[in-house]
């Protein structure tokens, strides 16, 4: 019922519109007929010459205005083109650097990781899932890894005059080993058949060796040498562990 009523209304409106359009058309015819009927009267009226002069000036002025607008449009278009080329170059250079320069790739990676850290730090983590916060009683070094991936537990720790170590394992028997050396030691890392590259740990150049399913990172902090070895752990996770080896917090110190 309502649909039919609406349709009627629409048809009536269309009809009215068309009829008014027809009236308009007749009005146009009337105007032209009226003008034609007064053709002779028109001859008596002279159009001032300066109207023609004004029109010529007006056309010139319009042309000038259009030229200015056109110039602006072209200038704008060229500017947009330049920006597009600059963006493409920037992307190209970035791609090249990421592909070929380790230090650049790592710095970029760090930026991404930092951003991710900022935006993921609201994650809720249960206390029992971070057993690595408990410091072993015999741990005498002033540094400690404040990040160990989930699923790993501390198996043993050892401390001596020259070397201190922490050993973690997960359920798949995959290990994380952190060794902290005094500055007097000389380290010889087994890099045979491994891929060696430079990475940055807390803005300090470090050596990273990837060999089979192990990743090793060696870096220095203050007067200490650090060696981190992970098994079947991602590059990102390994870097995060290394980055989070920090000075012991006051509340974690053994009394």
């Amino acid at each position: 019922m309502n649909k039919s009523f609406d349709e009627d209304k629409i048809y009536k409106e269309q009809l009215e519109h068309n009829y008014l359009n027809y009236i308009g058309h007749e009005h146009v015819n009337n105007i032209c007929d009226d003008l034609d009927s007064r053709k002779d009267d028109r001859k008596e009226i002279e159009v001032p010459d300066h109207l023609n002069e004004w029109f010529k000036d007006f056309v010139k002025m319009e042309e000038k205005r259009n030229k200015i607008q056109k110039k602006k449009a072209i200038h704008h278009f060229k500017f947009v083109q330049k920006v597009a080329v600059a963006i493409i170059c920037l992307i190209g250079v970035n791609f090249f650097l990421i592909e070929n320069v380790n230090a650049y790739r790592f710095q970029l990676y760090k930026v991404v990781v930092n951003i991710k850290d900022i935006f993921t730090q609201i994650d809720y983590v249960k206390n029992e899932e971070v057993p690595y916060i408990s410091i072993p009683d015999d741990w005498v070094v002033e540094y400690f890894p404040y990040y160990i991936p989930n699923g790993y537990r501390l198996i043993r720790s050892s401390s001596s005059e020259k070397i201190n170590s922490l050993f973690y394992l997960n359920d798949d028997e995959e290990r994380i080993l952190l060794k902290v050396y005094n500055s007097e030691v000389t380290l010889n890392l087994d890099s045979e058949n491994g891929k060696v590259r430079t990475v940055f740990i807390n803005n300090k150049e470090s050596i990273l060796i990837e060999k089979e399913d192990f990743i090793m990172i060696n870096w220095t902090l203050d007067d200490r040498f650090f060696l981190l070895e992970t098994q079947n752990l991602s590059f990102r996770e390994t870097i995060m562990i290394a980055e989070n080896v920090q000075v012991l917090k006051e509340e974690n110190k053994n009394k």
């Binding site: 009005h27 146009v28 319009e62």
Partner: protein, 184 residues
């Protein structure tokens, strides 16, 4: 390429404007002079009209046709009416407008569509009641201009356009309801 396209467009527009002026400027000057009876005012109105025409050039598809001719006349004579009102400092009202109490009648336009042959007469009558009613109605329904476009073209407020459109339709309905007895 962009420059070339812009140049072609510019030249076509300029040629169209020049053709319009060459074809119609005398006629338009005559229309303005008939209302204002003053050369300077008529000249000024033609200048104002061409500035407006220049802004609406893309809406003119063909120069030498009745549609364009009437369109230009409508602009010029409405601008002239405005100037006349300003000069006289009185509100120009058509006596027929005052005499006619324009109210919506119960009849609707679709009842009279069969009287198509009376369209010309009806348009003529509406023009006699108030020329600007017929002009605005024509701009709205024949030239398909929006109310805002009409207000910009004729230098009148949007409200004024709406009121005139409403009155034009009411006047037409009233004439139709009188059974086709049209004003002579």
């Amino acid at each position: 390429m962009l420059t070339f396209l812009l140049m072609i467009e510019d030249e076509a527009q300029r040629n169209k404007l020049e053709e319009i002026y060459a074809t119609y400027h005398k006629e338009l000057f005559y229309v303005a002079y008939q209302i204002l009876h003053d050369y300077y005012d008529a000249e000024d109105i033609i200048q104002t009209a061409f500035i407006k025409i220049c802004k609406n050039l893309e809406k003119i598809s063909e120069v030498k046709c009745k549609k364009t001719r009437a369109y230009l006349v409508i602009i010029v004579r409405n601008l002239s009416f405005d100037r006349y009102k300003e000069k006289k400092r009185t509100v120009l009202t058509n006596f027929a407008d005052e005499e006619m109490d324009i109210k919506d009648s119960n009849s609707s336009l679709e009842d009279f569509v069969l009287n198509l042959e009376k369209g010309k007469e009806l348009a003529n009558t509406l023009s006699k009641i108030n020329t600007s009613y017929a002009d605005i109605l024509t701009l709205r329904y024949y030239y398909e201009y929006s109310v805002i476009e009409i207000s910009e073209l004729l230098n009148i407020s949007v409200d004024n356009v709406s009121v005139k459109l409403h009155r034009a339709k009411a006047a037409l309905k009233k004439k139709l309801s009188e059974g086709g007895t049209l004003l002579e």
